[in-house]
Amino acid sequence: MALLEVKNLTVEFGSEDKPFRAVDSVSYSVDRGEVLGIVGESGSGKSVSSLAVMGLIDFPGRVTADALTFDGQDLITMPAKRRREITGKDIAMIFQDPMSALNPCFTVEAQIMEALKVHEGGNKKQRRERTLDLLNQVGIPDPKSRMTAYPHQLSGGMSQRIVIAMAIACNPRLLIADEPTTALDVTIQAQIIDLLLKLQEDSDMGLILITHDLALVSEAANRIQVMYAGQLFESGPADSIFAAPRHPYTQALLEALPERSEGHDRLRTIPGVVPGQYDRPQGCLLAPRCRYANDHCVKSRPEVTDFNGRDVRCFYPLNDQGQPTGLTADTTTGETV
């Protein structure tokens, strides 16, 4: 049984009769010791879906799912108090911007020890020792003196290490890292990712790595989940997705990598933006931006189907040569860019 099992998770905002689906029937699972990469542009619902797993979606947001289980326990029907016992202990999360993730009014020590106090108890001395341990573990130089520092006295990279220490304080079995390096200097980014992967390996945690950095997930993740406008577009093992993307969106994302633009005058981009609440296309959500889209794509929405062992939401999944399959002569009206 998977550690985390998510089936048809939907998160809606707005009124009951005209809801906005930030996350639309997304399913995935994470095993112990596995790294799942969730990629997609901004506004794809990556963060919202993980907040839903953490139970941090507030009214007026509505979370529904056919199944949302952690280690066999149903997170949705669970009483709030019981769920809080899991949140922060067994499932922990790291957020995007470390500089705003720490409470400016409390010392580093107080903030880490708080999580320990709530979930593990023990006395103050034990908690302090464990905090010192954690700071060592996340590679903070001179941890003793950092214990009593306030967040404004720390650099971004240092803050993110503290945030990570806070998240792993109670030895979580699943760690969700929501763009953990976006707000950091490039030089620090690699260090933080290395740290996360090392921690993941050492303790056999499940790790969900949310990012829009494809190069990063290609190295780090075992499996990849591509999301777009709240929907799952493609999922499968990392290497095979990189070798042969089945969804035109994945293909476009990969082409947008700078190293794949060699020989071109300009870096390649995907024209347009992710549709928001008010500009949702009637058919496939990608249709306005897809180079292969035809009338059929514009009019009706594809479902997730199995294509060569990969979950793909496309009428015409790509073959190994990167060409759409299943197109018949009369449907080929989309132009090739």
């Binding site: 941090l56 409470n103 999580a115 998240a167």
Partner: protein, 336 residues
């Protein structure tokens, strides 16, 4: 920290001069001659009038009078009351505890009710409880103190008979003041029922005086709280699995209080101004009532001294508030 303290104390000096200047000249703009007021209805003859004028120094140019006054102030001499002939500072110190008692209760009332109401409104944003507390606080803020105080007296004292109408304590009790604070003295006196009497006399003036600051504090707490609740670290705190109450009361409130403390400091000035009205209506023997009476009698030294002392008090409270920031918010802990 010490350097900061000295710099702030340095700021007080020009303000202090400004207050003496304003108070001294503004009073002299009010029509009415203190000597004629002292003389009463029968008046004085011209010779005696000139004599008295010279005695009080009113025959000197105003500028000279001002500097005479200023020199006195810097020697700790606020002058003597025209009416009672007692030193202003002595009268002030006798009456001051009554005002401090009232103002303290007023601000306590405002804080004890204002902050929880603000927090409640913020966490139930947009629901009926938010609308209710916010419209109540707007009403409270808009009501003139004297009118609100009269309504309170009419309803609770006259109609229901729950509370006394005026004064600090029932005439049944008499004891020598020790601290000047009636609540403490009544306890010290050991007389049965004295404390209850003193307390019941305080209720309505406290409510009348504390309503406006309470409304301001509630609104400030609400908006500050709403801002803080949207911060990332609140989400992080919740992701730690903390109970909602702990997230709100520890993580959010501490940050939300920073602007609220400023407002509380500023409200102390408003409170002392309000005390003048409240004391007059409830016959509360404090400096507010004392200054009003002095104004009616054109008792220049009393008015000047009283206002100067109040101004000094407001400055002191705001200095304390500035120092408090550092305790609450480590980002503004003063260095050097």
């Amino acid at each position: 920290m010490l350097g900061f303290l000295f710099r702030r104390l340095g700021d007080i000096i020009p303000t202090f001069f400004g207050v003496t200047l304003l108070v001294f000249f503004l009073i002299r703009l009010i029509p009415g001659d203190p000597i004629l007021m002292m003389a009463g209805e029968r008046g004085v003859d011209a010779v005696r009038y000139a004599e008295l004028k010279a005695q009080y120094g009113f025959d000197q140019p105003v500028i000279v009078q001002y500097f005479d006054y200023l020199i006195g102030v810097f020697q700790g001499d606020l002058g003597k009351s025209f009416v009672t002939k007692k030193p202003v500072i002595d009268e002030f110190l006798t009456l001051f505890p009554a005002t401090v008692e009232l103002a303290t209760m007023g601000i306590l009332f405002a804080v004890i009710f204002g902050i929880p109401f603000g927090v409640l409104a913020a966490i139930h944003r947009g629901k009926w409880i938010d609308h209710l507390t916010m419209s109540l606080s707007l009403t409270g803020y808009s009501m003139p103190i004297f009118w609100w105080a009269l309504l309170l007296i009419m309803f609770f004292s006259t109609t229901l008979g729950w509370t006394p109408i005026s004064g600090r304590i029932s005439v049944m009790y008499f004891f020598e003041p020790v601290t000047g604070f009636m609540l403490i003295d009544s306890l010290l006196s050991g007389e049965k029922g004295a404390f209850a009497s003193a307390f019941s006399h305080l209720i309505l003036p406290t409510v009348a005086l504390g309503t406006i600051p309470m409304a301001v504090i509630a609104r400030m707490t609400r908006s500050s709280m709403l801002e803080v609740l949207g911060e990332e670290y609140i989400r992080v705190a919740r992701a730690k699995g903390l109970a909602p109450m702990r997230v709100i009361m520890v993580h959010a409130l501490r940050n939300a209080l920073i602007p609220v403390i400023t407002v509380i400091g500023l409200q102390v000035g408003v409170l002392l101004a309000g005390a003048i009205l409240t004391e007059t209506i409830f016959s509360w023997p404090g400096i507010g009532k004392w200054i009003i009476e002095a104004m009616n009698r054109r008792d220049y030294p009393t008015i000047q001294g009283g206002i100067l002392m109040i101004a000094f008090l407001v400055m002191a409270v705001n200095l304390i508030v500035d120092l408090l920031y550092g305790i609450i918010n480590p980002r503004i802990r003063y260095k050097r």
